[in-house]
Symmetry: C7
């Protein structure tokens, strides 16, 4: 850390620095850089996959209580990196948004519309005083009438679509693996194996099936499904 | 940047410096200077054109998810430079304003009235405590009963009409091209080619059709229309 | 600018300095000193004239989109200097105030009553926390049952009546011309020519009819009327 | 001005300094010391007189638009010194208070009750955060069932009754004249001449009838009446 | 005054210093120490007396307009020291409280209950942000079903009963006189003479009947009564 | 006091210092350490006793007006140390809480439930901005269906049950006496004598019956009862 | 403590430091590190146990009034470490949440749903201005339809499931004992003995049954039950 990193422009909430930067948003992103790694992939015509690392700090922790991939609706899920409690606020909101859409229009919400609503909420926390930005990034993956989608939102409220994306501590290393390994003709198995390969690189150690969480939304079924520990173990073994 | 650029007048929201400047507004404009370039042109009797550069930072990004030109209503569109999430707030508001106008008066909103409403909203964020200005400039283009129009709004809430205008990182370089090339007898093709030429100058590299977005509102049709990648590729080729 | 111009009394909104000054109001006036020049004249029995300089920074600007003289009601107009977006808030309010008066009393609002309402609004922004003063001066001109009137409001909310007044960057130079040339027996033509003469002095260059805006409210007609470019060109020629 | 006049106790709104002083109130009084001079007199059985200096900074100002003596109700008037726009807020309130009293009790409000209401309002602005004190002193004069009255209110909200009082820049000099010349057997003419004599001393120059405003409330008529320029000129001549 | 008297604990409203002191309350008491002197006495079976010094700064002041002893209800009065405008807020509240009590219970409010309500109000202004404490002490005297009472409230909201008490600039000197002269068998005359004797000591000069205000509430009558100037003059003469 | 005791963590309301301390709460406790001493005792099967020192600063004070032990309900009383005006707010609330309980459930409130409600209120003032903690500790004593109880609440809102407790300036010295003298087989007389003995030690001087206040709630009667001066004098004599 | 531990990022409520840390949350955790130790265990098919140390600072304290384990509902309990008054707010909320669930769905709330609601409440206090985080950690234990559960919430609002967990001053030492002694085949007796063994290590002294509190929720009964002092004494003896 430099001597006076923000020269005072970083202490007040939501104001611009002379260079036009919003420091609180940048610092919130730092909180995410220290979080666990989450990886998302989507392949048109096939589906989307979310994979995360469970960082279990003590053997006394009940590993199954640590959840970083959440079902939002039948056809959409989200993986998080950053402050877990902040993320829960957004996940709750996403679930309610999806339910309201179903009730209002009698149809599934599109992945982008849902993502935009969450991004709009996050933006509010960067423009008004009396709040701080959310210290979390989301990977929102799903299958809707326009196919498979993967979006990333960040604390500024921006959302961008990806074919493959990483958030959290392993962002840089895992992204390199994805850039080399991603191909538009991957099938679900290939996507899962690639994400595990990227995760292994990110955490710099052998994979332990009990410390990995994987969710899949296949275009055929349009259903969010978490893999069992056995299924994950199977993929971990194949990945090696 | 000087040592103490604002001597404290820039830290509090919305107050004047001794020279009568509003630093938060000026810093917001800095945020826009670091944004992607957007170009607008209009020719009386012909129509208006919006062209933007898609800055795609990773090959894993889904290029089609990056949208910086938005349809506001049948006859109006807007291109943005600056903080994307901030811009979305204004785009949402513009769309609602246009719809309310249709419902209330059973007619299309004029381009200037719409622009003024957005400018008035932006002004509010420069005079009241507890908020920061919007970190975004908009180019609002459209065709209404009084012909073709192109307006630019900035974070102070000011709006000015232009025949051709540039916002974002490439402002200076692209403006030079427009000043030399703009003629009041350009047809749509000429307008598109001129905007591509200006964009090329702004980004200082060859154009890649997949990283350009173009929208057209012709006076004949009065319909906002985005060009397909093929159409853009065709123009890119001709421009060279 | 001195080293510590306000010794801290200028950073907090709306508080007095030990000398009883309101710095935020004084700094707002600085913003106006950097604005374009506007000139107003009134002659009893004849009418009132508003003249402004259009400062057009680029040849790509649509000159007709730059508006600094506004019709408030049939019989009243206003010219502005300072922050355009701030001014629009006041112009909107003035128009609504005039309409409400018409609807409530079935008569035209008097120029002074309208001016006082706008001044009262501006005063509020100097006494309450959470807002900044308006960075704008207005010249409000009109003809009502008591004759022709010209008022100036400043950011403190004070309003004063004038026979001839200048706001904006050219205040000092143009005022000298008016002080020498103003006579109570000027006719409308004489008023317009005098205002152009003052404007020329203010901007220190030859006048360009396309960069001047003139509005007239004659006592005979009691109607706010903007001159056409041709009419202005004609006066510019005669002025020289 | 000393180096650090208030050691920080003067920057925050409405708090006490260690000596039990309210600096914002004292600084507001400084604003009044720089204002134009206003003089009030009352003589039991005769009536009350208000006299002010019109400080006209330019010959282009419409002298009749400068008003510093206001009719509050049939039988009460007020002269002001300090920030004109602040004063207008209090004058408006005083007028409404008097009207409400008439409507509620079907009688004229007493001068002291009216003064107390205005003082109570001014006090509020010294005890609550988010506002600054009013930068104005009022001389409230009138005739009610208990005779002639003259009150002065200051920014702390205090009101004191006077037989003769001065506010504004000429306070000290004019007070000396009044102390020497005031007699309880003055008639209206004598009161007016004494106030002009005091005003002359205050402004340190010959009096100009067009730059003086005088209002009279005689006990016989109980009606607030402003003198015409001719009447004033007549008194000015006699005073010399 | 020491160099940094409160080390910052005195600038923020209503917070504790490390020694558990509330500086704003202590500074408010300083404001009272600079106020005019007020003296109260009560003798069981006889009644209560309030005496104050009128500090008249100019011979132009209408002495009868200066009021520092107020009737609260038929049987209760109050004398004040400190900021007059602050005191008026409390006096208004006390009068309303007494009236509400009469209307609700059809009986006179007891002196202590009234005092407690005023103290509770004053306490609020020491615990909440956005306000400052009241800069005033009250001596509340009256006769109710439990006899004669005299209470003092201070800016912290504390109230204490006294047989004789002094507030304001002369507190120390006048208290000494009261401590020596107070006897539980004083009659009303004796109480008035003792209070005048204490007042003389406090103001360190001969007494002037026109600059003294005295109010009496005798147990026999249970009626608040102000003495006339003649009655006061008579006592002043006897006191000497 | 150290040089910079809280390094800034003590100036803002209700925030944690790096050591996890709430300075405002600790400073409030300092205010109590400077208050008068209050002592409470309870013995199962016998009852509870509250004893306080009346610190009378002047012989002119009406000693009977100083009240530091308050009846809350028939069966509960409270003694206070710290800011008297703050305490009154809590006592008022406690009385209302007890009455509401009676009206709602037609039974006497339990001592612990009442104490918890008061503690919950005090906690609020340590977690929200815009207020300061209460500068007071309470000893709440009473007899309910579960026997005799004595609770102490402090500014953090914590409440703890005691067999014997001291608050205020004499806390340390009186506590030593209680620790040595408290026995579970004390009768009411013994409890009163022990509390007087502790009080004597706390104030370091002979006891004066007129400067002591004692309240008793015996289990037999379940009635809060204050002792008369004669009864206290009797105990004081026996204590010696 | 370092010289400037947070360089200013720790004084404002709820904002990020440049490293993405929320200092107020971290400081709140310090408050907990100074609190008493609480231990929780759960074994699938058997139940859950909560054990705490009662830190009794004086022999005059009524030990039974110190409660750090609370029944939330029939089947759920919670142990606390940190600020007791803060904890009470959360315990009250938890009880109400459980009751509302019963009334709304006519079923027992699941342990995780309850925990999540409390965590969501705690998160709010880390993102909004005007409040401070809760200075408390909770161990929430219970048995529901999915078996035995033990959750820990911290001031950030995060909740994690554990098989065994420690909060408070003895966290580190007691955790070591649990890590070594926890086995998935412990019965209730074994769980209690292990928790006592851990507690002994944490407080570094022999256990005193009167200073320990134990609560058990067995899967068979699904009922929260506190052990009597006798039962605890029995376990303490066995543990040794």
């Amino acid at each position: 850390m430099d001597f006076m990193p923000g020269m005072g422009y970083d202490s007040a909430i939501t104001i611009f620095s002379p260079e036009g930067r919003l420091f609180q948003v940048e610092y919130a992103i730092e909180a995410i850089r220290r979080g666990t790694t989450a990886i998302g992939l989507k392949v048109g015509g096939v589906g989307a996959v979310l994979t995360i690392e469970k960082r279990i700090l003590s053997k006394l922790v009940a590993a199954d209580s640590i959840e970083k991939i959440f079902k939002i609706d039948e056809h959409i899920g989200a993986a998080i990196a950053g402050l877990t409690a902040d993320a829960r606020v957004l996940i709750n909101r996403a679930r309610i948004t999806a339910q309201i859409h179903r009730l209002t229009y009698d149809e599934r919400i599109s992945v982008e519309v849902l993502t935009r609503e969450i991004g709009d909420l996050m933006q509010l926390y960067t423009q008004y005083a009396g709040v701080r930005p959310f210290g979390v990034k989301l990977l929102i993956a799903g299958v809707d009438d326009t196919g498979s989608h993967l979006f990333m939102t960040d604390p500024s409220g921006t959302h961008i679509g990806y074919r493959a994306a990483v958030i959290g501590a392993g962002e840089q290393k895992a992204t390199e693996v994805l850039e080399q390994g991603y191909k538009p003709d991957l099938d679900l198995d290939g996507m899962i194996l690639l994400s595990l390969s990227a995760l292994k690189q990110a955490i710099e150690s052998e994979l332990d099936a009990s410390k990995v969480e994987i969710a899949v939304i296949a275009e055929e079924e349009r259903k969010f499904k978490k893999l069992s520990v056995e299924e994950i173990a199977n993929y971990v073994e194949r990945e090696t």
